[in-house]
């Protein structure tokens, strides 16, 4: 008896969802996504005023880290409260490298490499921990890393931080527009790589480990290695993000990477949609938009003291509302609408 071919059996199963695109189209998706994204960003950057371009650049820088955190927490189930510290690692490495060699590509690579190594070390420890113990470890990282700058103040210049030497933008391009291009180039490249990674075997292994470690082991997944790999990938993204923030601020200081940054990042990916790169983009947008909204509200009420705390309050309220209305985050609302249409 001849067995029906895979395609025949698929066709015979009439109610198999047909949402999957052909493999050739799926392969084309990441480059197409980069190209479309780049065109939109370049177009927008010509239309927006300088401050909005700066905000656009900030969204791009945040998108790098929220994308990586989505892989770690959303897809692999490892909670990190220390990604702000990993960003600080990337930012300081970038600043030191840039001040020494004044080469943007070299400094960016150095920031990614050093943060990746830091992520590997944390990941090796994290792979042995679960739940609150893992959260405690990453929280300790978030607390310890900024204090390192005070301990080794000859290198990191303590609370004052370091200024970052940068070449002027090429030609007559305004600084903010150049920053937007740079940050979004990093964001699009890193998230496209993440998209390719999570679509394949690595992505399935990540989610398998998140959903059932025992079943994943029996299916041949090396749980510890997968968890460490997730941390490494996520740390690399955080390092890039930190470096881009150093480009944006043209300086780095421990005050730019407080513990609340790590909490904001976590809230952002939960609100955006845990486990979805589109949700990571939504989260990055919120990280820029909500403080701006808080500032506007505080200015409206004439209370400068309110301004410092209102962003956290607004983030908390948005988190509660989104979790009540759409537990899967903003990305799940988009998905549900598409399915019902």
């Amino acid at each position: 008896m001849t067995r029906p071919s895979v395609r025949e059996s698929r066709d015979a199963a009439s109610d198999v969802p047909r949402g999957e695109r052909p493999r050739s189209l799926r392969r084309l998706a990441p480059p197409a996504m980069i190209l479309a994204g780049a065109l939109v960003i370049v177009g927008l950057s010509f239309l927006l005023p300088p401050f909005r371009n700066y905000q656009l650049a900030t969204v791009g820088a945040y998108f790098c880290v929220t994308g990586g955190l989505t892989v770690l927490t959303g897809l692999n189930g490892q909670l990190s409260l220390g990604h702000g510290a990993l960003m600080a690692t990337g930012a300081y490495t970038f600043a030191l490298a840039q001040n020494r060699w004044l080469s943007l590509p070299v400094s960016l690579v150095a920031a990614i490499v050093v943060t990746t190594v830091a992520g590997l070390v944390i990941g090796l420890a994290a792979a042995r921990l679960r739940g609150p113990y893992l959260a405690g470890l990453t929280l300790a990282v978030a607390v310890v890393v900024p204090s390192v700058t005070s301990t080794f103040d000859e290198i990191f210049n303590s609370d004052q931080g370091l200024s970052v030497a940068l070449d002027p933008p090429p030609g007559t391009i305004p600084v903010e527009q150049w920053q937007a291009w740079l940050c979004w180039a990093g964001a699009l490249l890193s998230t496209s790589l993440l998209a390719v990674l999570v679509r394949g075997r690595f992505g399935r292994d990540l989610r398998a480990v998140r959903d059932d470690e025992t079943a994943a082991r029996l299916a041949g997944v090396d749980v510890a290695r997968t968890q460490v790999a997730a941390f490494v990938v996520s740390a690399a993204c955080a390092g890039l993000s930190g470096a881009l923030f150093a480009v944006l601020a043209q300086s780095v200081s421990p005050g730019a990477f407080p513990l609340t940054l790590s909490l904001f990042l976590l809230m952002a990916i939960v609100i955006g949609g845990l486990g979805s790169l589109a949700g990571a983009l939504g989260g990055a947008f919120l990280l820029v938009a909500l403080p701006t909204l808080a500032q506007a509200v505080a200015e409206g009420t004439g209370s400068p003291r309110l301004e410092g705390n209102l962003a956290l309050v607004i983030f908390g309220v948005v988190l509660v509302v989104v979790m009540l209305a759409a537990p899967g985050g903003l990305a799940s609302i988009r998905f549900r609408r598409r399915r019902t249409s």
């Binding site: 067995r3 029906p4 895979v6 059996s9 698929r10 015979a12 199963a13 009439s14 109610d15 198999v16 969802p17 949402g19 999957e20 075997r201 399935r204 292994d205 989610r207 398998a208 998140r210 959903d211 059932d212 025992t214 079943a215 994943a216 082991r217 029996l218 299916a219 041949g220 997944v221 090396d222 749980v223 486990g275």
Partner: protein
């Protein structure tokens, strides 16, 4: 050299070949030699020996707490025996859970161990290494009659379908040894008949832990009976059903 390395060295890594019977050199014979397991003062397994010959279907039965799942956990590498050793293909072997798949050993879990954040197709693909993961997964889904659920999340499916999906994941890697831990639990008579047919037709070594006696008696070539961790009988289904020690273990009275 570690003993598990000895076992993995001779294993072919390309196990997605279409004609796997002709090219597959992965071992399909399993041996447990004087295995004992103690958890503190509790002896979960006491001097258990068993040889599962290639292509044979061997059942492990016993009352609750007899040590059946502990025996599976030993073979899966989740529990290290206090005494005794294991062999795979006649060679000393120290199992590790995530190496089983590569060695051609698949195991299902009691209940359903599934990845609810993935579709059924992705669930099955997790069990397959190599470039042909998707086609192998479709083949396994087809074999278990669940292709039409390929795009669904397992959590939303009936229990019997989820059991089939778990079987599909185990079969997708084209194992040489299949370990089934209470596969009939929670299934109705029709599903159990289908399962019996699958086990008989699968054509590979099967180690089966099950409480459903009709299933065990109808599919197994050989049955090991455990009681409080001790092996009390080993034989064909006819021999086991006639053994008074087995009746006593199950009913608590002498036959």
């Amino acid at each position: 050299m570690a003993t598990d390395d000895v076992a993995t060295d001779h294993v072919a890594t390309d196990h997605v070949a279409t004609d796997h019977v002709a090219t597959d050199h992965r071992p399909d014979e399993l041996g447990l030699h004087h295995i004992s397991v103690r958890f503190g003062g509790l002896t979960a397994l006491d001097d258990v020996s068993l040889r599962v010959a290639p292509g044979r279907i061997v059942g492990v039965i016993g009352p609750n707490g007899a040590g059946k799942t502990t025996l599976f956990n030993i073979v899966s590498g989740f529990v290290t025996p206090s005494e005794g050793s294991l062999t795979l293909g006649g060679r000393p072997w120290r199992p590790r859970p995530h190496h089983l798949n590569r060695l051609g050993i698949a195991r299902t879990l009691q209940g359903v161990g599934q990845f609810n954040g993935m579709t059924v197709l992705e669930n099955v693909m997790v069990g397959v290494r190599g470039r042909h993961a998707e086609s192998e997964a479709w083949t396994a889904l087809e074999r278990c009659g669940v292709t039409r659920f390929a795009g669904d999340r397992p959590g939303a499916l009936p229990y019997a379908v989820r059991k089939r999906v778990e079987l599909a994941r185990a079969l997708a890697a084209r194992p040489r040894i299949l370990m089934l831990d209470e596969p009939a639990g929670g299934l109705d008579a029709d599903e159990i008949r289908w399962l019996a047919g699958l086990i008989k037709d699968v054509g590979i070594t099967v180690l089966l832990v099950e409480h459903h006696m009709d299933l065990v008696m109808s599919v197994c070539d050989e049955i090991l009976v455990l009681d409080f961790g001790k092996p009390i009988a080993l034989g064909t289904p006819a021999e086991i059903s006639a053994d008074p020690r087995v009746t006593e273990a199950y009913l608590g009275t002498a036959a």
